[in-house]
């Protein structure tokens, strides 16, 4: 599985792959069938992944007469490596070399609409679709050849872009495709390649997007440079919720280097040929007076503030089994999380061009299709005349400023038809205006019986919505500023099984009695939306901290206590493998040193992930040194093992940053975390000394979303290790040095 491919293997097609007799689910379609698809409604029930919405093969794969294959995915590369994984799947299932394959990612005019690239769905939705579409195409190519040669299809095999009969007769895919329509629906009865015949799936393939990123190639939308392109900046108050008071727009045109001011309603953009004068202009305009209409932002005790935001009760789970017996002991705890920032290193950027009546927007949005709808509505254009093309941006981690800056760019570009406009937010605008990850409160109450088993469980979570992504014009800042009555959609409470603030609030443990309640908060004093893993970070932090508190109350080993309550075999496997690799319980940590453990299955649908951490707390400063983090992950069928490791490593570090270092500051008027000096994130001196990721491969099983799987377990393992080191439990994020020092 870890074997590196030789260059020849990567490019050429490897050994012969015979075509198997057809039959329902011959080797399993391997689809993430239980996941919620994010795109439009399902039109072909039963087909796996996004084939359910887009069953026609040529929306996924086209074979040109020269044998070149183009693969389409509606998902976007966010640095998670999806392009590489899709390429591996397609090339392997099609039996072609990588040099024959071109991948097209999210583009409203060419790729299938797969909704958002979010929720760790890309492999489940698109990976599954592409793999099965490729299997279908390979089979159709063989069938066509069989007809041509008048031989049974089962006597044929494929190799490196050719169909062959084993007697020296071959036919290139390109030649076959010339007479073959792929505009046909995918069939359910066409099997995927047998596992033993895989050439690329499960192997290490270096990420295809990395070389350009290492050598100064055009890798990001920020790097785009089109002929005649103008630079643009948008003029706003210092943070979301604020408005400039009567800005003198006419005077702005006189600022040096400002070639044009685009203004409508409260929307103001400055356009110019050079960037630096625009940066200076923004700084001069930073002195403009501003106000915050509406209610002041509530400040003070976090739990009181959050719980006071007009909660609406939504029952999530009510499992009652009277036979469980009586609780002899109750434990209760409250956990909180502050508002968090996505904080991509590069501020949001988009390039837009209005030409021949078509508005094209190059954007790093996670959802080109929903964005197109919202922008078309804002511009009053028919959606088909608006095209959104995904180009990589900096980071992502959820709904940041990407969509808003795309709308800003579109408004600016509309004023200068024929000229591309590159709109870039300033660092302070990104910090000030991006939607935040919501603050949350979780209260847990658990009942233990006489033998130390959990027999009652009550989980209450308070949270705003976790999605205010653009579903219509009013969700975009620019549209709101136009003053044409565009208003945001009312906040949505995402339903289970995935959930929003309640994501992962249902413990996977075998609990006879369990009640989970979501208090959906309707007031949003700070702009919020999706941040990586949504409510799972908070709920898993709380549940897994609480499991340790219960284990402590029963004087049990935390891992043994978890296993005692865990029936799911795959969950048990990652727990046991992590404990084993970490040598859990076999070493006694020294003074102010502690071991922490946590587990979750993301969304209870995605990847299984268990993490153990070994931390040391420095006595005088309270600083935490993470000596070692060990994770074991079951993502189902592994396509690119290093891609999974990269995501888990990154998730662990990012979660340590969130959990240990971050909180958005605000006062009654606005956010006050306006740059990195006042919103510090993890730096090198605080990253672990070692991180190991162990992969459990399940070839042939459905892909399980992995991109967000580490956020919750890493947070709780970190908190549990600190509690073990100091003997005191911290329940309020962030677990800062001072909190650790003073509570010790």
């Amino acid at each position: 599985m870890n074997a590196h491919l030789s260059r020849r293997e990567m490019i050429a097609g490897g050994g012969l792959v015979v075509l198997f007799a057809l039959g329902p689910q011959a080797t399993g379609q391997g689809g993430g069938v239980e996941g919620q698809a994010n795109g439009e409604g399902e039109v072909a029930p039963g087909l796996p992944g996004s084939l359910g919405q887009h069953p026609v093969l040529d929306s996924w794969i086209r074979v040109a007469a020269d044998g070149q294959v183009t693969v389409f995915t509606g998902k976007a590369e966010l640095g998670q490596g999806i392009k590489t994984a899709i390429v591996q799947l397609a090339a392997d299932e099609l039996d072609i070399g990588l040099d024959r394959l071109t991948l097209v990612t999210a583009d409203t005019h060419s790729s299938p609409d797969e909704g958002l690239t979010a929720g760790s769905h890309s492999m489940e939705d698109s990976g599954t679709a592409v793999a099965n579409a490729a299997a279908n195409v390979r089979h159709l190519l063989a069938e066509q050849t069989a007809r041509l040669w008048d031989v049974p299809v089962a006597s044929l095999s494929t190799r490196n872009g050719q169909v062959t009969d084993g007697n020296g007769r071959t036919l290139d895919y390109g030649a076959i495709a010339a007479n073959l329509s792929l505009h046909v629906p995918a069939r359910l009865d066409i099997p995927r390649k047998p596992i033993g015949a895989r050439r690329l799936i499960g192997k290490h393939l270096p990420r295809i997007d990395i070389p350009a990123k290492l050598t100064g190639g055009t890798a990001y939308v920020h790097d785009m440079k089109l002929p005649g392109m103008l630079h643009a900046r948008v003029v706003r108050g210092p943070a979301e919720g604020t408005q400039l008071i009567d800005p003198d727009v006419a005077a702005m045109a006189g600022l040096p280097g400002v070639d044009r001011v685009v203004s409508e309603g409260r929307f103001i953009a400055l356009l110019g040929r050079r960037e630096w004068p625009l940066v200076q202009a923004l700084r001069i305009l930073g002195q403009l007076e501003w106000e915050r209409p509406g209610e002041p932002i509530p400040t003070g005790d976090r739990a009181a503030v959050v719980k006071g935001l007009s909660p609406r009760v939504e029952p999530i789970l009510d499992r009652q089994d009277e036979s469980g017996g009586e609780a002899v002991r109750w434990v209760a705890a409250r956990y909180t999380r502050p508002w968090l920032m996505h904080g991509a290193i590069g501020p949001s950027c988009a390039v837009a061009l209005l030409e021949d009546g078509i508005m094209t927007i190059w954007t790093h949005s996670q959802g080109v299709n929903p964005l197109r709808g919202a922008i078309a509505e804002m511009l009053g254009m028919p959606p088909e005349r608006v095209r959104c093309v995904h180009v990589e941006g900096s980071g992502c981690y959820g709904h940041n400023g990407a969509d808003d800056v795309a709308a800003d760019a579109a408004l600016a570009a509309r004023a200068v038809p024929g000229r591309p406009v590159r709109m870039l937010w300033s660092r302070e605008q990104e910090h000030g205006w991006e939607p935040l990850g919501p603050a949350q409160v979780v209260e847990l109450r658990g009942g233990l019986d006489a033998v130390g088993r959990i027999i009652a469980w009550n989980h209450q979570v308070w949270s705003n919505t976790h999605v205010t992504r653009p579903s219509r014009a009013g969700d975009l800042i620019a549209a709101q500023e136009l003053g044409r009555g565009f208003t945001p959609a009312s906040p949505r409470s995402l339903p289970q099984p995935e959930g929003g603030g309640d994501r992962n609030s249902i413990p996977l443990y075998a609990l006879a009695n369990a009640r989970v309640t979501k208090h959906f908060l309707q007031d949003m004093p700070l702009r919020v939306s999706a941040i990586r893993s949504l409510g799972a970070h908070m709920n898993v932090f709380a549940i897994e901290s609480f499991m340790d508190e219960l284990a402590l109350a029963t004087r049990s080993d935390p891992v043994a206590f978890r296993l005692r309550h865990m029936a799911d075999m795959r969950a048990r496997t990652v727990i046991e493998r992590t404990a084993d690799r970490f040598a859990w319980g076999r070493r006694t940590p020294g003074t102010l040193r502690g071991h922490g453990f946590a587990f979750a299955r993301y969304k209870n649908l995605g990847a299984f992930c268990a993490i153990a951490m070994d931390v040391e707390v420095l006595r005088d400063s309270g600083r935490v040194v993470v000596h070692r983090a060990v994770a074991s992950v079951d993502s189902g069928d592994i396509v690119n093992p290093d891609g999974i490791r990269n995501q888990i490593e990154g998730g662990i570090l990012q979660s340590i940053s969130w959990t240990g270092h971050e909180a958005v500051a605000y006062d009654e008027r606005s956010r006050t975390s306006y740059d990195w000096s006042v919103y510090p994130i993890l730096r090198f001196e605080d990253v672990p000394l070692s991180v190991e990721v162990d992969l459990v491969d399940r070839p042939g099983q459905p892909f399980l979303g992995t991109g967000e799987a580490a956020q919750g377990p890493a947070a709780a393992a970190y908190a549990n290790a600190i509690a073990a080191a100091t003997g005191r439990r911290l329940r309020e994020m962030p677990l800062t040095d001072d909190a650790i020092r003073t509570r010790r």
Binding site: P238, A239, V279, Q280, L282, R283, I284, L285, G286, Q287, S426, E428, G432, T591, L592, L618, R619, D620, S621, H661, A665, S670, T672, S673, Y674, D675, W676, S677, V678, Y679, P680, T736, D737, D738
Partner: protein
């Protein structure tokens, strides 16, 4: 044991033998003078001698009451002990920080309770003697870079609490580096001579005419906090000039501005503003704590609030007659004059500094960071603080979040820093142009190399 008793006797015998030969002439008088000098030197050695204090078995953590340790922690923060007793990548109190003196580098020692390399075998008596008299447990005199000239004022009870605190830290095995001093200064008995001239063991005496808070502030400020160690000038032998107390001094290449009526601040240092500065590392009416003052505020932010209030009112009292206490002048912004006088500096400022320091910058408009003319550096007699901040930047002094400035050490050349400093002085500062700026920058760069 070169100067042990045996050696003395041997030397004296030889001298007697030679007396006969030198019975006459001026040489005789020379010998007598030399002998007298030698005798005086021997007397000095006897006088300078301090006996070792017996080692103890390192006491267990449980030997100290929790409340005592907590009190000690507060005092150690007020004393800013960790600044000299921790190296850049070392553990707290394990020593290793090099104090730069005009005579050479003296390294903070390991004051963790490690038995071999720290103070694990020190009794309370030994600890007390070191703090009060500047003598190590083994009897060696300690260099006055260790400010026992101030610690001598500390009360018995506070020394006990500090002892309890240090003896309950995690022991760290770490040998402090050898001091880098010229040979004669390595001879420790000389320190006793220095002490004879400049040091008198003393105890704090309260001023009955002042408030309890003032007295608390004076006790802490003159004692453990040893503020005047940096903020007062020193004589050629490195002793604080008491007659010029708080008239401004030096610390690690930074100028520590006056804390008396000559304070260059353009806004009054009221007790309240000082309190906010010392607790948060930032006074919105002045500037952020920079250089060696950063760690001071880091510690004071975690010290007892009432103690910091006492320090604040004591030093506000010291600065009660400073110019800004009577009249706060309007803030200077002579941008045109400065641009004409220093065009190169103006261009550097526009590209390197304006993004954060002009009034429309978010950190100014929203973050309320003080404008450049509010800080003391541009009004000081010496350019060093301005140069140091530009070269080395500023890390948030108190928390992970806070005032930050990148270091321009590798961005600007010495000449460019000098151009920028000259521009800043003209645009925002007061006082005459600073001379020899390029040389000052070169020297500051060398002395503050990371």
């Amino acid at each position: 044991m070169l100067f042990g008793r045996d050696a003395e006797q041997r030397y004296n015998r030889k001298s007697f033998l030679r007396m006969k030969v030198l019975r006459s002439g001026w040489l005789r008088w020379l010998v007598i003078v030399l002998a007298l000098l030698l005798f005086a030197f021997l007397l000095f050695l006897v006088w300078a001698h301090r006996p070792p204090i017996a080692e103890i078995t390192p006491p267990p953590r449980t030997a100290f009451a929790a409340a005592e340790i907590r009190r000690g922690e507060n005092l150690a923060r007020i004393g800013n002990c960790v600044s000299c007793h921790q190296s850049a990548h070392g553990r707290p109190f394990a020593g290793g920080y090099g104090v730069q003196s005009p005579f050479g580098t003296i390294y903070g020692t390991n004051i963790t309770p490690d038995a071999q390399t720290g103070i694990g075998r020190w009794s309370l008596e030994a600890f007390t003697r070191s703090m009060r008299e500047g003598v190590s447990r083994d009897g060696r005199h300690l260099y006055p870079a260790f400010p026992y000239t101030h610690y001598t004022l500390v009360s018995d009870a506070d020394l006990r609490a500090l002892y309890a605190y240090f003896m309950t830290r995690d022991p760290v095995r770490a040998e402090a580096p050898v001091n880098e001093l010229p040979l004669p200064l390595k001879f420790r008995p000389f320190i006793a001579g220095w002490k004879l001239l400049f040091f008198e063991p003393d105890r704090f005496r309260r001023d009955p005419d002042q408030s309890a808070e003032w007295n608390r502030g004076a006790y802490l400020g003159e004692g453990l906090a040893h503020c005047s160690a940096c903020h007062s000038p020193r004589n050629w032998l490195g002793a604080e000039q008491r007659s010029e107390a708080y008239n401004g001094g030096w610390s690690a290449g930074w100028y520590a501005p006056p804390l008396n009526e000559t304070s260059p601040a353009v806004r009054a240092w009221t007790a309240r503003r000082l309190q906010s500065y010392l607790r948060t590392g930032l006074s919105v009416h002045h500037a952020a704590a920079a250089g060696p003052m950063g760690p001071v505020t880091h510690n004071l932010a975690r010290a007892d609030e009432a103690d910091v209030r006492a320090l604040s009112s004591y030093y506000a009292w010291w600065m009660r007659d400073a110019p800004a206490s009577n009249r706060e002048p309007p803030l200077a912004d002579r941008s045109e004059t400065a641009r004409r006088a220093h065009p190169a500096g103006a261009a550097l400022f526009a590209g390197a500094c304006a993004t954060c320091h002009e009034p429309g910058a978010t950190m100014m408009a929203l973050g309320g960071r003080p404008a450049l003319p509010l800080g003391s550096p541009l009004h000081e007699r010496h350019p060093h603080d301005t140069i140091q901040i530009i070269l080395n930047g500023l890390q948030p002094p108190v928390d992970e979040a806070g005032p930050f400035m990148p270091a321009y050490r590798d961005i600007l050349t010495d000449r460019q820093v000098a151009q920028l400093v000259a521009y800043l002085r003209t645009r925002y500062g007061s006082g005459p142009e600073w001379p020899d700026l390029v040389e000052e920058v070169t020297e500051a760069r060398e002395n503050s190399a990371p």
